[in-house]
Each structure stands twice: as C-alpha cells, then as structure tokens.
C-alpha cells in the first residue's frame, strides 16, 4: 500500500523517541541532550524534504544555540528545587490518552484530505532552490523583509539598552 522509506522511519523513530525521553526523563540534563537529538532529527526531516539550507540552520540555531542555552541553564539551576510535585498516575494516563486522541484526530484529517490521494506527490516541478527563495525575498516580499529587519534591529537595540549597566562608577 505505502512505499515506506526506511530512512524516514528511522529519523521518525529517533525524533519521536528522543522527544519522549526529553519529556519523561528524571535527569534534566539527559532531557536537554534528548531535546538536542530530537532537533537534529527535525533537521533530518528537512534533509529528506530536499531543504538542506533549512536543515543546516536548524542544526546551527537549535542544536548549536538553543540546546546549549537550555543545558547551560539546567546546569546553573539546582534541579531539585524545580520539581517538587510527585508523579500522578492518573494525570500521566490522561495525558497519554489525550495525545493519542489528538494524533488520531490529525491522522484522520490527513487521511480524508487530499494528501491521501496517490497522485498528490507526483508533481514534476523542480525543487525550489534557496537562491530562488532569496530572490523572491528581495523582490516580491521585500516590504515584509524590511519590516522583519527593523523589528529585529529594534529588539537588538532595546536589548542593548536594557543590558547597559548604569551602576559602574566612572574612575575619577
């Protein structure tokens, strides 16, 4: 029925499994490592979708920066103080049931939608290059790009203003 790609299955198992570990493990540091592995799995999905540019940025930003930030925070904060509530079996069961319901719902929606049509994936148009995306960004979508750039610049300036220390005494 389905032509299953073993690579896709492997990456999916890796991503979902490490996400579950990230949520469930008692050791926060292992959770953070599992989160980093899950993000690498998402980069693997982007690679499978022929989007290596996005995949590399996914690794550089999410593994190289966000995961480091999370691990850094976890190391500095005493982990015992964060979690004092005991594990509740009822809550856990309810959470698993809720997750299964949501996943079944999404699956049902996908199955009845046009994605299930076998001819859906058979389009022959070439993949879009990142240079083409860059050209589009600088021509058709340039106002949005300018607005985004201004927002980012404004937030950077605001962050610098907030981080400026005023309590340093000038040497006389």
């Amino acid at each position: 029925m389905f032509d299953v790609d073993p690579l896709f299955v492997g990456v999916s198992v890796l991503t979902v499994g490490s996400s579950i570990v990230a949520l469930e493990t008692k050791e926060l540091i292992y959770g953070a490592i599992a989160l980093a592995i899950g993000m690498m799995g998402i980069a693997g999905f982007f690679l499978l979708l022929d989007a290596p540019f996005v995949a590399m940025f996914q690794i550089a930003v999410y593994v190289g920066a966000v995961a480091v930030l999370i691990i850094f925070t976890v190391m500095l904060v005493r982990t015992q103080a964060l979690f004092t509530t005991k594990e509740d079996k009822g809550r856990k069961g309810a959470g698993i049931v809720l997750m299964l319901v949501i996943m079944a719902g999404f699956g049902a929606i996908l199955l009845v939608s046009g994605f299930n049509n076998p001819s859906y994936g058979n389009f022959n148009s070439p993949g879009i290059d990142f240079t083409a995306i860059g050209k589009e960004m600088l021509t058709y979508y340039s106002p949005a790009l300018v607005v985004l750039g201004l927002t980012l610049a404004g937030s950077v300036v605001a962050a610098l203003a907030l981080a400026r220390r005023e309590d340093i005494e000038q040497p006389q």
Binding site: I29, I33, A36, P52, F53, M56, F57, I59, A60, V63, G64, A65, A67, V68, I71, F72, M75, F130
Partner: protein
C-alpha cells in the same frame, strides 16, 4: 636504568622468533587462506573493468602489480575510502600527528630550546609514537560522582565531530567526501557542536575546575562564532555560492580572495584561533589558573582522543581558511603527466589532481604553522578583553569587509561577468 634478564641467550631469542614465524605460517595456511576463500566466494565482488572479480582473479591481481591497479582504482573511488582515508579521517589524522610533532619542535626552536630529542635517534622523531604508547597504556580514571555515560561519550563525540568537518573540505577537484550545496553552512552547523560537547564533558567530570573551563569554553566559542560566520559571509558574497568547491573554482577564475578581503581573512584567522582554544585564547585550558580547564579530569586515551580531535579541528579550520581565502588547490601543475615514460596501459595517476593535492597540502600546512606561531610569542589574554574583542571589534571588522565585498560585486569588478573574472 632498564634491567636485562639474567640468562639472555641470543640463540634462544632467534629460536623463539623462528617458532613464532612457523606458528604464524601454519595458522595462515590452515585458517587464514580458507577463510579468505570462503569470504571471497560468498561476498559479492564488484566488476572491475570488463570482467567480474572472481577469487582466482582477485588472488592473481594481488600478486601482479599491473593487474592490481584496477582494483586499487576501484577502491579509491568508493565513498568509504573518501570518508575513512583520503580527504577524510586518515588524511586529517596524519596532519594532526605531523602537527603535534612539528608544533613541539617549532616552538622549541622559537624559544631556543631543543624540544623532543631522545625518542628516536634523529631529533626525537619517535616522540609521537612514545607519547601515543604512553597514552594508550595509561589507566583511564573516571572521577567519583562523574556522569559516566557523558564522560565516556564526549571524547568520542569530539573526535567524530572534528572528523565530520573534514569530510566537507574539498582537497582537489572532485576529491571531497560530501560535496553538498550548502557546504559552508554545514561546516558552521557542525562547528556549533563543540561548545555543547565541551560544556557537557566539563559538567560530567563533576569537578570545579573543569566546570569553570567549560563555561569559559562556552563563552569564548559563542562569542567568536558570529565574527567567524560573518567573515566567511563576505567570501560567499564574492563567490555567489555556499558550495566549497564552487568557492575554490571562482577563486581560480579570478584571484585569491585574500587579496580582496584581507580584513575578513584576519577576522577568520583570529576567530579560528579562539574556536580552537589556541594560545592567546586558551582560557578554557589555562593551566596556570584552573589546572587544565575542562581537560583536568581526563587521563589516558580520553585525553588522547580530545587532543586528536582538537588537532583534527586545527587541520579542518586551516583547510577551510585555504579554501575560502587562499584559493584552495589553485597552483601550477608541477607533476609530469606520466610517471614512467613508455609504460603502456592504464595511467597510474592524474597529474592535475596530484599537483592540486600537493598545493592544498602545502598551503594548509603553512596555515597550520601560522596558527601555531602565536603559541610561542603571545601571553594569554584576559577573559573580558577576549569577550570584548569577539563581540565588539571583530564583528565590526567583519562588517567592513562585507561592505567591501558588496561594493566589488555591485561595481562590476568581481562576481558574475566582472572585470577581474577570467
């Protein structure tokens, strides 16, 4: 002083060696050869040239040098060879080994010392072997309370990450293990793993000096990653591609980019020194302040693996500098087209590829020497100066040359159809 056994007889020594050879010959005849035949019979062998490789053909090829050539040619064009041997791990590890020895002799000569002298007769050339044997035979001590899985996994991850960078570096036309369109981005994405590994390893050591060193490594690598990427970005503007092979080709068709982007090259060089934790920026391993930084609790082969990884990383960053600024393998063809005139049959080697590899190796080695140089002459800088340099000065410098690159492209001097493009 080493001691000799009381009853040493030369005849007994020779006799034991003869016995060993005899036993090895018997084992090879009874076990080795049948095993080879069984494997050759069942393993699917590739067609070489116009004939299918049978065990008989394989054995006759291994004894006849002219018939061995096609099979060697087949194997050096497989992906496994590229990853494990030539542009990949073994080449980089060879570079690392040479670098470790040359560094010690070079620094010693700079500081009027002699350096390694006694292992091996000539200038201590077996020092590396002696050090390697020492590291292998040493006990690996895991500190009490250490996080064992991370403690064991981090050094291996360090070497693996460094080796992953080397697979992206093109050494000669077509000689790259992974020729991907976003090669430069992939290099930076992989380099982003290093602070993570250093931080995790320092935390897993369960000791305060490694942790201080790990935090310093994190600060330093994050602070210098941005000027690092920005300085490479101006090269991308000039070359119009993120593929490293394309970048080299565009330099061959114009000029080396260090001529147009000297400030970027300088920023790249400084940032790679910081990324490598080499001497002016070796705060994470500052041995006079925090014992040995994040390497304090390492011993034996764990230390050896991390050192191997960091020297492979040195090779990778020097090679990246050569690819981005020094024209990669660009250089005149210096090898003759045929090694043995009058030899009929297959060509033994490609003169263009051989000279490309030669130029690349020479340039990379010179670049590594330039990276070793500050260790002999510079003191360690303070951490606030380091962060200030990274965040304020180098980023601004990188931006300056990016505008130069943009002016060159929009002024029609470089880039597609430019004045200087041949």
């Amino acid at each position: 002083m080493s001691t000799y056994p009381e009853k040493f007889r030369f005849g007994e020594f020779v006799g034991s060696i003869v016995w060993l050879v005899f036993i090895i010959l018997i084992l090879v005849t009874l076990i080795g050869l049948p095993l080879i035949f069984v494997v050759l019979f069942y393993a699917p062998l590739p067609p070489v040239g116009d004939q299918v490789l049978t065990p008989y053909l394989f054995l006759s090829m291994t004894v006849d040098p002219t018939r061995t050539l096609p099979i060697i040619k087949y194997f050096i064009h497989t992906d496994l060879f590229r990853i494990a041997a030539f542009p990949g791990f073994s080449y980089a590890a060879l570079f690392a080994a040479v670098t470790i020895f040359v560094e010690r002799k070079f620094l010693a000569k700079m500081q009027l010392r002699v350096g390694p002298l006694y292992a091996g007769k000539i200038e201590g050339i077996f020092q590396l072997l002696a050090d390697g044997l020492k590291l292998v035979s040493k006990e690996i001590i895991v500190p009490s309370g250490a996080d064992k899985p991370i403690f064991w996994a981090a050094p291996i991850a360090f070497v693996a990450t460094a080796a992953a960078v080397t697979t992206l570096i093109p050494v000669a036309p077509g000689w790259v293990a992974a020729n991907i369109n976003v090669g430069l981005l992939a290099v930076f994405a992989i380099l982003g793993f290093f602070p993570l590994i250093a931080l995790l390893f320092s935390w897993a050591s369960n000791s305060k000096y490694p942790f201080i060193g790990g935090l310093r490594a994190l600060h330093q690598m994050i602070a210098f990653e941005i000027p690092f990427i920005l300085s490479a970005l101006s090269v991308v503007i000039l070359a119009g591609s993120l593929n490293l092979t394309e970048i080299v080709n565009s330099q061959i068709s114009s000029n080396w980019y260090i001529l147009f982007l000297p400030i970027s090259a300088f920023v790249f060089y400084i940032s790679s020194l910081a990324e490598l934790e080499r001497i002016p920026f070796d705060l994470p391993e500052a041995e006079s302040e925090i014992v040995a930084g994040w390497l304090t609790e390492t011993s034996g082969m764990i230390y050896g693996l991390i050192q191997l990884g960091s020297y492979i990383k040195t090779y990778a960053l020097a090679a990246l500098f050569v690819v981005l600024f020094l024209g990669g393998w660009a250089g005149p063809v210096i090898f003759p087209a045929e090694l043995t005139p009058g030899y009929t049959g297959v060509r033994i080697y490609n003169a263009i590829t051989a000279s490309a590899i030669f130029w690349f190796t020479i340039k990379t080695f010179g670049m590594i020497m330039l990276m070793l140089l500050p260790r002999g002459i510079n003191p360690r800088i303070r951490i606030d100066i380091l962060l200030h340099t990274g965040w304020y000065k180098l980023i601004v410098l990188a931006f300056i040359n990016m505008f130069v690159a943009l002016a060159l492209v929009y002024g029609g001097i470089l880039g597609p159809g430019g004045l200087l493009v041949r």
